[in-house]
């Protein structure tokens, strides 16, 4: 990964001017490089990692489930067509083709346990080409996208030392 991507992957708020200083390049060149990455799809989107457990209130609760999906591959297109039909549902937040005992690993998000169960029962397991599903509800998130969600403890260093 080049410098620009590594910096932005860690903190998307860093400005092109600041990246220019860090890499000793011109701000204009950095802006152009970022634009290129955006245009060719290397940079897909800028997002914020949120710990949903910290949000209080009625509409804040989410239920997440990891679903193992076994499917029958189709001629010529393999798994891709069924995968597309699955990941097009907005309830699906992630979808991976994996090796091993099942084919797709799908992450689904819903308001409560019933919405997720309904989605699996009425949409997913009844879909043509889907042979079997196995649903695991998420109980606790410890780490997401390389980020440990528990706030790190600070202040272990002395504030000043030679």
């Amino acid at each position: 990964m080049d410098d620009i991507l590594e910096i932005l992957a860690n903190d998307a708020r860093v400005t092109p001017e600041e990246i220019a200083k860090m890499t000793r390049k011109k701000a204009g060149d950095i802006k152009k490089a970022i634009k290129d990455y955006e245009n060719n799809g290397t940079i897909v989107k800028y997002k914020t990692i949120i710990d949903h457990e910290k949000i209080r209130g009625e509409n804040s609760s989410f239920v997440r489930a990891l679903i193992e999906v076994s499917i029958t591959p189709q001629k010529d297109v393999g798994f891709d067509n069924v995968a597309e039909r699955i990941y097009s549902f907005p309830e699906v937040t992630s979808c991976y083709l994996v090796s091993g005992a099942y084919d797709l690993l799908v992450m689904v998000e819903g308001r409560n346990i019933h919405t997720v169960s309904n989605f699996v029962a009425s949409k997913l397991s009844s879909m043509e080409g889907v042979r079997r599903t196995s649903t695991h509800f998420l109980l606790k998130k410890y780490k997401e996208d390389g980020q440990i969600l528990k706030k790190a403890s600070h202040g272990k260093r002395l504030a000043i030392s030679i």
């Binding site: 410098d3 590594e6 910096i7 903190d11 860093v14 600041e18 200083k21 860090m22 890499t23 000793r24 272990k156 260093r157 002395l158 504030a159 000043i160 030392s161 030679i162």
Partner: protein, 401 residues
């Protein structure tokens, strides 16, 4: 009766300790430590925690009951790893049994090196500026410090000429530290070769503190001992604190000619016995599997260095581009303030802490040491506050007139 001392109070402390210059910086440090919510650019250690696989190894060793002494010289596995590392990385061979000693940080290595080679009255050339302990450690052994001046004009580099100018009768050794704390200055191979010629000419022993070697940004680090004619006269000191973010483990090593290492080991076995076994096990893991961590931290420091040098020059604190370590050493001459006054005033008004240049010698009163071993958000905020401070104090001057 409790107040009656067994000796007159002016005789209780040894003369050479009494004579050690009191550290003026201590009071300032206490001021910083007593203040809350300070953004500190004054920290002389990495802001990364020790990589997890290294910590995990240490924890596991404790679970398994590795809590004993080790060989005085250090665990053979660790010495072997150090020897392998030096051979693979720098193409220099040290016998793990005769030529390597594991120490409690480079700090102990320094003390042992000077104690092993100095007789009372022997002189040591110590660069100005340099790490604060060099001078006092030389003096504690009964040696004499000869100041080897370096200049902002040469980017605080020691040059063959500066050694020639400084050399006098009775000088036995010289110490060099590169990349340097506090200036970040380092040397390429060609520059080191030129310095080596003068060291050989005067038949000096060189103590080379290379603890920041992995944090060299613009060229490859060259250990002094790899240069022709230098291995037999170099005490090569290094450790795990900076490269692997392991300051609290207190682990370093010395590599050098067998006779000197034997001398150092003699002192070490009576005064320290051995380094902590937990730290030695963790350090063995660092050498075996820590390469990627070092590379990651180096990339991060490099970006911060570039950012800080750019940002400080932008706000009117000129500084040279340091080649290594995690310090920049900007000049505050334009403010007309002494470094301690500047540091105190900035701390009081803007809650930003840094180390005044005077901590490294009175003649460095036009400089401050800024450490960029801090998160990028902190650096950004600190620069903004220093900028505000500079603008406000300029404004203050104008209104007084």
């Amino acid at each position: 009766m409790a107040n009656v001392l067994p000796f007159p109070s002016n005789m209780r402390i040894a003369k050479r300790v009494e004579q050690m210059a009191p550290s003026g910086i201590r009071a300032f440090f206490d001021l910083v430590l007593g203040m809350k919510d300070v953004i500190s650019l004054g920290v002389g250690e990495p802001d990364f925690a020790t990589p997890w696989h290294i910590r995990e190894k240490a924890i596991h060793s404790l679970e398994k009951g590795y809590t004993s002494y080790t060989s005085n010289k250090g665990m053979p596995e660790l010495r072997l790893e150090i020897s392998k590392f030096l051979a693979e990385r720098y193409k220099i061979s040290y016998d793990f049994n005769e030529e390597i000693l594991v120490t409690v940080g480079v700090s102990e290595g320094l003390d042992l090196a000077f104690r092993a080679i100095l007789d009372p009255g022997d002189k040591v050339m110590v660069p100005d500026p340099s790490y604060v302990s060099y001078g006092p450690v030389v003096e504690l052994t009964g040696g004499e410090v000869v100041r080897l001046k370096t200049d902002i004009k040469t980017g605080f580099k020691i040059t063959p000429q500066s050694i020639e100018d400084c050399y006098c009768q009775g000088v036995k050794a010289m110490i060099i530290n590169y990349p340097c704390n506090p200036t970040g200055t380092s040397y390429n191979k060609k520059e080191l070769r030129e310095i080596a010629k003068v060291i050989i000419k005067y038949d000096l022993i060189l103590i080379s503190d290379e603890v920041y070697d992995e944090l060299t940004y613009d060229f490859d680090h060259t250990p002094f001992a790899t240069l022709k004619g230098m291995k037999e006269r170099t005490i090569y000191l290094n450790g795990f604190s900076k490269a692997y973010a392991m300051t609290g483990f207190r682990l370093g090593w010395a590599a050098g000619p067998a006779d000197i290492i034997a001398g150092m080991t003699k002192i070490h076995q009576y005064t320290m016995l051995c380094a902590s076994i937990t730290a030695q096990i963790a350090s063995t893991e660092a050498l075996k599997n820590g390469f990627k961590d070092v590379a990651m931290m180096k990339r991060e420091y490099l970006r911060r260095r570039n950012y800080m040098v750019g940002a400080l020059n932008d706000i009117g604190l000129p500084c040279h581009m340091p080649q290594g370590a995690f310090y920049v050493f900007p000049s505050i001459k334009s403010t007309g303030m002494k470094s301690m006054d500047f540091a105190k005033d900035l701390l009081n008004k803007k809650k930003v802490a840094l180390v005044p240049g005077s901590a490294f010698g009175q003649e460095l009163d036009d400089f401050i040491r800024i450490s960029y071993a801090s998160s990028y958000d902190n650096l950004k905020e600190a620069v903004a506050r220093i900028d505000e401070y500079l603008k406000e104090s300029k404004h203050g001057k104008k209104t007084r007139r």
